[in-house]
């Protein structure tokens, strides 16, 4: 005990059980590589995308509706073909994934902030406050999440002046999806808080005199984050799907800045005229992304909860 040197942060991570479990799970490794590749592609789309689908000068209507490069009539400039306006599908997917991932992450973070705070308060304060918060959660749970997102989206659109619509829709979307997902976090955090607040370390903090806000933030919050991270990962996949659904229905992001959902909707109209690539490739990208994130979430849940195995 005397002569052990303090381990660096990296060494501790590499020695931890969670890293060990990760290194031995091919599913976790593959799905995290896939996720990272998609995130990388989306993040650096302006630098690595073969062509810029939003640069009106570069778009040529002569290139419209070209099939993927490996088919006859395909063009090597457009690996996955082009859409009706001559935009390269691969590039649009990369730019579209940017929007999808942004909305996904932002709404998950928004849900987390709302859900965790309400869950902590609900569990720690208890009594009437708890009852009110949890009844609101119950009511919300009795509606499908997509319906709530649609409703909020509609209300927000009504409140915002028309000329600002295109600028704010993406934030409205984040808000709508975020609000529709907080209940999960609140319930989980409340449950863990009920357990943690009776533990002796919380009582010790109370005896020192630490105020409830600090106890929640410094003592309870770090100890309830495990299950929250699992939900967040799985929720990320759900949020991306919800965004795609809303965009597919036409209430999501505007067609000028297409997300994956918008791309699928645009392509949907050409599906039966034989130009299948316009909708299939964005759809496949969406499926792969969501599947990878979901598998990652499943692995995380198992790794953090060894009893489930």
């Amino acid at each position: 005990m005397e002569n052990t040197v303090e381990k660096s942060r990296m060494a501790r991570i590499l020695d931890s059980d969670i890293w060990h479990s990760f290194a031995r799970s091919p599913v976790a490794i593959i799905s995290s590589i896939v996720t990272l590749v998609i995130i990388f592609g989306a993040l650096f789309a302006p630098f690595i995308a073969p062509n810029d689908p939003f640069d009106l000068v570069a778009i040529d209507l002569m290139d419209a509706s070209l099939p993927p490069a490996w088919l006859e009539e395909g063009d090597s400039r457009f690996f996955l073909g082009t859409d009706d306006q001559g935009r390269g599908i691969l590039s649009t997917i990369m730019y579209g994934a940017r929007i999808s991932l942004f909305v996904g992450f932002a709404s998950v973070i928004f849900s987390m902030i709302v859900g965790i705070s309400l869950g902590l308060i609900s569990g720690y304060v208890g009594g009437r406050t708890d009852a009110i918060i949890m009844r609101i959660a119950d009511i919300q749970l009795s509606f499908p999440a997509i319906l709530i997102a649609l409703l909020l989206d509609g209300v927000a659109r009504g409140l915002v002046p028309k000329e600002m619509h295109n600028d704010v829709t993406i934030y409205v979307l984040v808000f709508a999806i975020g609000i529709s997902g907080w209940v999960q976090y609140a319930r989980t955090v409340r449950g863990s808080t009920l357990v943690e607040k009776n533990k002796e370390y919380v009582q010790a903090a109370r005896i020192i005199g630490i105020r409830p806000g600090t106890i929640l933030r410094r003592h309870i919050l770090p100890n309830v984050m495990g299950p929250v991270m699992v939900i967040a990962t799985i929720h990320l996949a759900i949020a991306i799907i919800t965004e795609a659904t809303l965009s597919f229905l036409g209430v999501g992001v505007p067609p000028t800045t297409p997300s994956l959902g918008t791309l699928i909707r645009i392509g949907n109209e050409y599906l039966f005229s034989g130009e299948w690539w316009i909708t299939i490739f964005p759809g496949a990208a969406l499926v792969i992304l969501v599947l990878a994130v979901n598998l990652l979430g499943d692995w995380l849940r198992d790794a953090l909860n060894p009893k489930l195995r």
Binding site: M1, E2, E6, E200, A204, I208, G209, P222, N223
Partner: protein, 575 residues
Amino acid sequence: MELLDIKNLQIEFPSRRGTVVAVKGVNLTVRPGEVLGVVGESGAGKSTIGNAVIGLLDPPGEMSGGEVFLKGEKINDLSSEEKRKIRGRRIGMIFQDPLTSLDPLQTIEQQLVETIELHLRLGKKKSQERAVDLLRQVGIDDPEIRIKNYPHQFSGGMRQRVVIALALCAEPEVIIADEPTTALDVSIQAQILELMRKLCREKQVGMLIITHDMGVIADITDRVAVMYQGNLVEEGTTQKILGDPDHPYTKSLISAVPRADVRLRRFPMVDYIEKEEDRKVLLDISTHWLGQGRDFGKIEGPLISVKDLVMTFVTKQAFLKKNRQSFNAVDSVSFDIKQGEVFGIVGESGSGKSTIARLIAGLYKPASGSVFFGETDLTKVGSEREMDVFRKQMQMIFQDPFSSLNGRMRVMDIVAEPIRFHKLASSNREVETIVTDLLEHVGLGRQAAVRFPHEFSGGQRQRISIARALATRPRFLICDEPTSALDVSIQAQILNLLKDLQEELGLTMLFISHDLPVIRQMCDRVGVMKKGKLVEVAETEALFTDPQASYTQELLSLMPKLDFLSHEGLDVEAS
């Protein structure tokens, strides 16, 4: 012939950090009608032996060597199906927790009759008669009626009797009991042990009893085997091992056992386990931060005075007040704690002793009554800021060292939190110096500060808790069962530490325990609690030599008899 014969047993637990050998070449035998005790501290491998015999080793544990014979028949390499037939039928089992060893969804009758039918192949009617008869034998009143009940309708002690009946119902040849009374109160423990002893004699069953408790060993066993880190260090008759041990580990273990018949000045230094925990570096209290700022306001009379304290818990919630059900966990209790004394509260589980500690500490609001700190009624203090003045002077040490420290914080931040909160040091550098000093003062190394709680053992964690409690420079320390989750030798170290600190700093202490011998070592005066009421308050020596209340007399008479324990190397203060 030996009933159970364990030869050269070797058990390994492979893990990715290397293989742990939990049991190293152990030989044990049990004869008919004999009770063999296996004693040792946590991690000694004693439970693993029991699990290996019945073929229920937790994976990834495996028996890597040795043989187990039951009446001359080798049972360790049987198929799992054959082992299953032996379990229950030929080897009965009693586990620690009577709540989890019974199926909550089946009546006692279903569980007993099913087992009897399965193993003895009796008819339904005969099995039922036998089940009722067994319940009568283990001392359950009205067995014909009680047999229809579910486990939750029995109290802890009664439930453990049912578990014993269940272990006996197929007339096994050997019973393996793993900490059978650890979850029970002393009074019930005495009855259960007597029952087990009697049944063993009458039915000529051999029993292997695994425990960490010297009291249980002294009460029930004929022979004892002492385990230390997977090795069998000593074996012999109970009288010999407890009265005149040979091995140095056994000696140190026995010297660490608190006794009710003598009061020690200090426990002898137990250096067999966790050697580095001696307090090597001691602070000069007179010049150090810890010793300064102790000029608390003068208080005449008692430091703590509890008056007619009542605490009510709601047992059944209801919307209307009149439909609510509640009970008084603490029922008009009054006592004083003088300055500089150690006041003990002793009682069985559910007697309300921990509730009193939490009421004084301000964690609960009492239903009525008051807690005076000097002149101030703490229950009437309005603002948090006013309360902070008293919080600084009053700290608490908890029972469970595994939940009393926040696992996400470094030890440095855990101990520094009270100093920072009450602004007891001027700079961050000073805080860090104080924390490392405190850690050294309670017997931990300076390096402890940068680690996380999970890197420490139970005893070390309890030292961290003590360092945190000292960090507000309190004058009053509440200890709520501070050692009941610890092994005896660690308990001796912690009790020594608390005694030393109390003397050095002139602390006033409230010391809560269910363990009378521990109370005798630590306290100046003692209050005895029963079902929320204080039945007797007396000087410790008077209480142990001349108890007044009948409940106190009963408690004292039920204590395990440890008189014949070796007195070697003890520093006796009173006896």
